[in-house]
Amino acid sequence: MNVSVIIEYIGVFLIFIGSLFAFVSAVGLIRFPDVYTRSHAATKSSTLGVLMTLTGALIYIVVSQGYFSVRLVLGIIFVFLTAPVSGHLVTRAAYRAKVKLADITIEDALEDVIHGKKEELKEDNTN
């Protein structure tokens, strides 16, 4: 087993673990009670899973095909940059659109700050 094969394995394992993460976060997406908690599953673990997979793929390709893909690197950077942002945006949108928090939620710190001021916001599209 030479080095490259080992590195290949590392890549593949990264991919595999990434896929596990993705799977778990998908399960989380189903099982969590409200959109805010689900967004955790989606953005945190899923992002991690994707990043791991992509990194794994990058490594694997570098080793097996001897090709360093700038596009893949860019992709990794991109996902790294955007995934949290989109998660953030969705949650914020959800909150502004007055999506109900789960019953088990204890405190809504933003209630007065946002909903207090703007009753005019549309109640549209919430289901």
Partner: protein, 140 residues
């Protein structure tokens, strides 16, 4: 109503830069790997769309003072115009010429009329997509 978009805007700036680079890459890579005029145009257009979404129309229009309809027309003109080039050389309409040149330092370079054609396609696609999106959103 004020919505704090700082995070989004910061990211967007970077992202748009990536997209533009990608678009240019896709445009030139198109003949030999996935990509090409169409896709480049679409990707480019999506960069504009992103800008419009994240910022607003007026800001972007001021930043990029272009009439996208004319860009689209120009693109179509280029695309159709390369066809008319055939009349000059008495070859069938839309005959594309290509050749390879050995250039020092860069190695083999391919020069082809397809590039002009593809540039037209790209411009047309960008122009049209942006025109469509803008026209509808402007009409509030």
């Amino acid at each position: 109503m004020k919505i704090n978009n700082v995070i989004l805007r910061t990211v967007t700036k970077l992202v748009v830069f990536i997209i533009l680079t990608l678009a240019v890459y896709l445009f030139f890579a198109g003949h030999n790997s996935p990509g090409g005029g169409f896709i480049a145009g679409l990707v480019l257009a999506s960069a504009f769309v992103l800008l419009f979404i994240v910022y607003d129309m007026e800001t972007i229009k001021n930043a990029i003072p272009l009439d996208f309809k004319k860009i689209a027309a120009l693109g179509a003109f280029l695309a159709v115009g390369t066809g008319f080039g055939a009349f000059l050389f008495d070859v069938p309409f839309l005959t594309q010429a290509f050749d390879y040149f050995q250039v020092p330092f860069f190695g083999e370079i391919e020069l082809t009329t397809v590039t002009i054609f593809e540039a037209g396609v790209t411009l047309a696609v960008v122009g049209v997509v942006v025109t469509i999106i803008l026209s509808i959103s402007e009409d509030v």
